[in-house]
């Protein structure tokens, strides 16, 4: 008989999601590859970018024709915005497309490493929260900045594991753990993961979810990697909930000494 696990949902701004894996929809070869990878990942939320409609090529396929926003939650992002003004403009437009209040804020400050500009990020969070947005915020892994974001009205804290698209995995586990211990807000690792084990580590640290794009889209086999991340997130979450054993420096036999021949 299988073990029955309690219904364990990801809750963000009072919305419940079955999957703790959020996937990005960029960098795929084409829309159908993206849609299939999203399906295999089991994600309930996908990030999307806001861009100009191509007015000269009207036959260009639309994302909404491949991923149904009624079935999968679209999380509009502000990728490519380098100041508060651009980010606010983008998210106000995003909300107008279909009434989305749940958004991902990302204000970049550094073109080389794509690190977030936390001053602009906090400023934007305050404005958006006042306008009724539910903001999931891409941020540095600095516990103090995470606290400030929380106080500014963020709905989820999303620190980077490493630079966006770098595939380096979680570089500062201690900071992630400190942020986990100080906040009750959903904590989601956003950016920098490279393989499924990175997602396991994030979940075992107590994160509520992970957001992955490049690691799946640019894997040699994106469909297989989408599945691997799905399973990694589930394994990591179960491992976290199960409670690991204490670490010791000495060995302890797994077989009893009693009755030894």
């Amino acid at each position: 008989m299988g073990v029955k696990l309690k219904k364990d949902k990801l809750i963000i701004a009072n919305q419940k999601f079955d999957s703790r894996l959020i996937v990005g929809t960029g960098k795929y070869k084409n829309m159908s590859e993206c849609a299939k990878a999203v399906k295999l990942s089991g994600a309930n939320i996908v990030t999307v970018a806001v861009r100009r409609v191509n007015i000269s090529d009207k036959k260009k396929p639309l994302l909404m024709d491949y991923i149904d926003p009624k079935k999968i939650t679209y999380l509009p992002n502000t990728a490519g915005c380098f100041n508060s003004e651009e980010a606010l403009r983008t998210l106000r437009l995003a909300r107008d497309i279909g009434g989305w209040n749940l958004v991902k804020l990302e204000v970049l400050g550094d073109k080389k490493n794509l690190f977030p500009d936390m001053i602009e990020t906090i400023k934007s969070t305050e404005v958006l929260a006042n306008e009724g947005f539910k903001i999931m915020v891409y941020c540095t892994d600095d516990p103090l900045m995470a606290k400030r974001l929380e106080n500014s009205g963020a709905s989820a804290i999303m620190p980077l594991a490493a630079p966006i698209g770098s595939g380096l995995g979680i570089q500062n586990k201690i900071n992630i753990k400190i942020i986990r211990d100080q906040t009750k807000l959903p904590l989601i690792i956003d950016a920098g993961l490279g393989q499924a084990s990175d997602a396991v580590i994030a979940m075992e640290l107590g994160c509520d979810g992970v957001l992955v794009n490049t690691a799946i889209a640019k894997a040699k086999k994106p469909y297989e990697m989408a599945l691997a991340f799905k399973n990694g997130v589930i394994a990591g979450r179960q491992s976290y909930l199960a409670g690991r054993i204490n670490r010791t420096l000495s060995g302890g036999p797994s077989s009893p000494f009693e009755g030894i021949i």
Binding site: G24, T25, G26, K27, Y28, M31, C34, T47, V48, A49, V50, R51, R52, V53, I55, K58, L62, L63, M64, Y74, P76, N77, A79, R92, L93, A94, R95, D96, I97, G98, I164, G165, A191, L211, N213, T214
Partner: protein
Amino acid sequence: MKKKVKKIKIKLNGKIKLIPEKIKMSDLIKRFKIPINKVAIELNHEIIDKKNINKINIKKNDTLEIVHFIGGG
């Protein structure tokens, strides 16, 4: 003989376009085959209510941005 329609210059998604004068926003949407339910529209930096597109007249030198969702991380 049909009277020649005067054209006006507007900026649509960063590109200069010539369109007939006294055109409504709804006509423009049709002309460029824009899927209205899948976009947001900014007219001179202000988001317009899509319910009002047949009440809005496009004027000379208007700047329009029409955006939608594409793949992104």
